[in-house]
């Protein structure tokens, strides 16, 4: 299931219910958490196990391949908060 190459997660905030299940299942050894108690969306995940996508009760997490830069998005300009 693991895609191996790093990915950047994207969260559809409109459907997110802030349940924290994605953070709970995340196997990253270091905190990989956003200021909104979701998995991080402003840095790449190099494990890419996609368990966070599997556990989401409302299927509102997806991802793109990490291209080395962050896509333009107001919610991705928050690295100083994490």
């Amino acid at each position: 299931m693991s895609e191996r190459s790093p990915v950047l997660f994207n969260i559809g905030w409109n459907a997110c219910i802030n349940c924290g299940a994605c953070v709970a299942i995340c196997p990253q050894p270091e905190p990989f958490i956003s200021p909104f108690d979701t998995i991080s969306v402003d840095r790449p995940c190099d494990i890419a196990c996609m368990l966070c996508e599997s556990i989401c009760p409302v299927t509102t997490i997806d991802h793109v391949a990490w291209e080395g830069t962050l896509p333009q998005s107001p919610l991705n300009n928050r690295s100083h908060h994490t």
Partner: protein, 391 residues
């Protein structure tokens, strides 16, 4: 930048953290209780069911401030709607009921009010409480002290303490700081969704609906929520379904034997969470650190219930730490192992047994056989003569 000193810093002011804090403060231990939220208990990630016994056991007064509805028993359903009713108003009418000389079996609580109430109790016992404060890191200093770094309204603070208690829930980061193996397996974390609804009648019972058709790997529930409201929810194990909890909840509400009962319902709130149906953490302590509550995975692996186990675990932790700190003992990992031993003896060993029961059910590959075993186990679990009824 400032530095302060406390005997104990507790990160997370849920039921486990507040209970630990209150019982420590009552014994004269100085406690700083932190929570990163601005409103405790929110967003709600819990159905809020707790037994009266669980509250009384740790000295929580039964208060209208947090009770939404009194509970008198259980209705356990199989996948086809066959119900085993365990109504203590009928089983033990002298004791249980709504009359003046009777008591409820338990309650559904409002987690926002409940968590605030527990925090208030801790504060009144002498705990220093600080909201909007996030734990960032901790560093053991020597055999007796550590430094805890937190952020409060964007300001960094350092606190010297004899130990830190991680009570930061299922998303716990505190255990990770010490390198504890906190990772939970995907086949042991239930993905849960629930609606608070209007126009669904209930009768003072916690209703639990088993069956792979409705909630693969978990169960669905209908709980009374007070003021004529109810909550309808379910938890599913992702490895046992290709659909998400949202799809399963819709399927349950529209297609199950309860579809008529739900046909007029109106959704008032949407809540969700991850519920571990897993074993407790094998190691719940490190140098200058212990974990309590969901952070230590003190959750009933059969029911997913975590309030009772959080309250009890917090109380056990406080009793251990009071004695330990009053004797000025060091707080290295080896010194704190006795906390986990005490917890295992009082609660944990039974939870391990429950975990084995649960694991054995889900090892069964044949779905009808598994459904039957889960239904029988649930019905047995809530029966008056269950050996586990006080977990």
């Amino acid at each position: 930048m400032s530095e302060s000193r406390f005997d104990v810093v507790i990160i997370g002011s849920g039921p486990a953290g507040s209970t630990t804090a209150r019982w420590l403060a009552q014994e004269g231990i100085s406690v700083l209780l932190l929570d990163k939220r601005q409103e405790l208990g929110a967003p709600i990630q819990c159905s809020g069911a707790v037994s009266r016994h669980a509250l009384e056991e740790v000295g929580v007064p039964i208060s209208e401030e947090f009770i939404q509805e009194a509970i008198y028993g259980f209705g356990i359903y199989n996948e086809a709607g066959k119900c085993t009713k365990i109504d203590y108003r009928q089983l033990k009418p002298d004791e249980y009921g709504a009359g003046e000389s009777q008591v409820p079996l338990g309650y559904v609580v409002d987690r926002r009010r409940f968590d605030r109430y527990l925090m208030t109790q801790a504060e009144r016992a002498g705990v220093t409480v600080q909201l909007k404060t996030e734990g960032i890191a901790y560093q053991p200093l020597d055999d007796h002290y550590c430094s805890v770094t937190v952020r409060h309204y964007n300001q960094t603070q350092h606190i010297k303490a004899r130990l830190v208690v991680g009570a930061d829930g299922l998303m716990s980061q505190v255990g990770k700081w010490a390198g504890l193996r906190t990772h939970i397996r995907i086949n042991e974390l239930a993905s849960c969704l629930q609606f608070v609804v209007d126009k669904v009648p209930t009768d003072g019972l916690l209703e639990i609906i088993t069956g792979h058709e409705w909630a693969p790997g978990g169960y669905a529930w209908v709980f009374p929520k007070g003021h004529g409201y109810a909550e309808i929810g379910l938890g599913v194990i992702p490895t046992l379904t290709k659909r998400d909890a949202q799809w399963h909840l819709k399927h349950f509400m529209e297609s199950s034997f309860f579809k008529k009962r739900f046909s007029d319902c109106r959704i008032l709130e949407v809540q969700g969470g991850g519920v571990p149906l897993a074993s407790p953490l094998r190691t719940q302590y490190a140098d200058q650190m212990i974990l309590v509550g969901d952070a230590a995975r003190h959750v009933n692996p059969i029911t997913g219930g975590g309030i009772h186990t959080a309250l009890s675990g917090g109380y056990i932790a406080a009793r251990f730490l009071t004695d330990h700190l009053k004797h000025d003992r060091p707080t290295r990992a080896a010194d704190l192992k006795a906390y986990q031993d005490a917890w295992l003896q009082k609660l944990g060993n039974k939870m391990w047994k429950l975990y084995e029961v649960k694991t054995d059910i889900f090892r069964e590959k044949d779905i009808p056989t598994r459904d039957k075993r889960l239904f029988q186990t649930m019905a047995g679990y809530f029966s008056p003569d269950s050996e586990y009824k006080k977990i």
